[in-house]
Structure formats: structure tokens, C-alpha cells
Symmetry: C2
Subunit: 110 residues, 2 copies
Amino acid sequence: MGATKTDHFTDKQNAIATLAKALGHPARIAIIEYLLKVDTCICGDIVNELPLAQPTVSQHLKELKNAGLIKGEIEGNSVCYCIDEKGLKKLQAYFTNISTKAENKKTNCC
Amino acid sequence: MGATKTDHFTDKQNAIATLAKALGHPARIAIIEYLLKVDTCICGDIVNELPLAQPTVSQHLKELKNAGLIKGEIEGNSVCYCIDEKGLKKLQAYFTNISTKAENKKTNCC
DNA sequence: AATCATTATCGTAATATTGCAATATTTAAT
DNA sequence: ATTAAATATTGCAATATTACGATAATGATT
């Protein structure tokens, strides 16, 4: 097949997986890091920052936007993209939670 | 094409992307959560917990292991899988870091 | 209005992922 | 030694992802 069986898992599990998946590509990590680095949210130059063609970058931006990790707004003839804090916070909260749980487990066998 | 251009990004970016990608599937999130829930690391029953066939689960376990998120050890005729804290901690640290950075940015445009 | 600059979409090729049946492998138990 | 139980591997079909050239869409500039 090849299609993920999302309907068999909880909404929360699917939500986290979607966020994680969106960051499961180095180009998208690089985009996030670039957006964090620049103060000005002038964003068309993301294309210049990455070793990828413009349509490819546009596609990655779309995925990040769909996942709720960035926001995009049209500004004249260019588009201003910037971080959507909420997405990052969800991931941060989730991993802090399960990382703590893992740490508190004393009954590790391996 | 379809092959990710990993050589154009930094090692750190690739490392995080690899970890995130490994958790970019609800079944693998479910596996991690199950391993956190059970005290005993008796793990063959992960198959019973998931709505997936045994070879599929085995494949997901392999990916989590390759990514450094779980550890597996042969125990008699079964295999004991459990959380590898290091992987989770890396993710936790990374997201805490960038989430904080995002929060401290005052120049958000959108 | 014609042109330019910026970004998005379409179409397509190459590759990767997901999932499972069938089969192999390994160890325990008989 | 056979058999049973648990897990891994193989092979394959269906689908998804990645990447880009070509093209469209939109707004700015002349």
C-alpha cells in the first residue's frame, strides 16, 4: 500500500506525528532556523539561502504552513513568512513531557 | 527526483530532521508512548497494541532503533525493546531551544 | 497597458515510505 | 531432532515525497 493508517491512531498521536513529519526534512529545519535568525521577516530570500529551486522551496513552505509551524502573509508582491510559535510550543511541550517520563522510569531493561 | 539532498545541509540539521522524521508517523508515536506506559519492557506485545501486521511493526521498530529513539535486546526468544532516552532528550533540547528563541522575538510581522 | 519581480501551481520523473503475505531465522520447549 | 513461538527479512504493490522545469498568477514599476 503506502498510505498511513491515520484512522487507527488517536487524534493526539496523529497531530504530533504531523508536526514531527513536517520537520522531518533538513530543508524545513533550515527554513525554521533561518526564520528564527533574521529579525526582519522579509522572506523571499529563503530561496537564496537554500540549495533548492524556487518551486521546491515554495512547496516546503506550504508544508510548514499546513502543519501550523509558520505563517505567511502577502506583502505587496512578496510574501512575509514567519514562525508560528504555537506549533513549536506543542512540540516542545510534548517532548519535554515524554522526555521527563522516560527519565523517571527506573525499570529500564536495556 | 525524490531523494532528499542531505549533503547540502548541516550535520545538525540532518540529525534533527532524521529524529523528527522517525516520529513523523502515528504508529511510531504510539510505540514510543506504549514503551513509556509499560513498566516491564516485555515488548513483543507491541504488535497486539497496534492495528498493524507484525512485519509492519517490526519495520517501524527498526526505524526507531536506527534513529536512536529506542533500544532493543534479545531476551531468550523474544526481544526487549525500550526507550533510548538520548534521542528524546536531543529533541526536547532542540525544541526547547528554538521555541524559546521564537518567544523572544519581538519583531514578528504576521 | 506592458514589463518586471515575486511567489504559487501544474505536470512529471525519480525515489522513498507504508503495509502485508510469505518466508527465513532464532531460541525455547517438547 | 521436532516443533512451536517470537521476531526479522524479503518481495512486492500502492501511495507519498522530493525536486524541478514550465507556466500561471499577482502586484509593482515604468
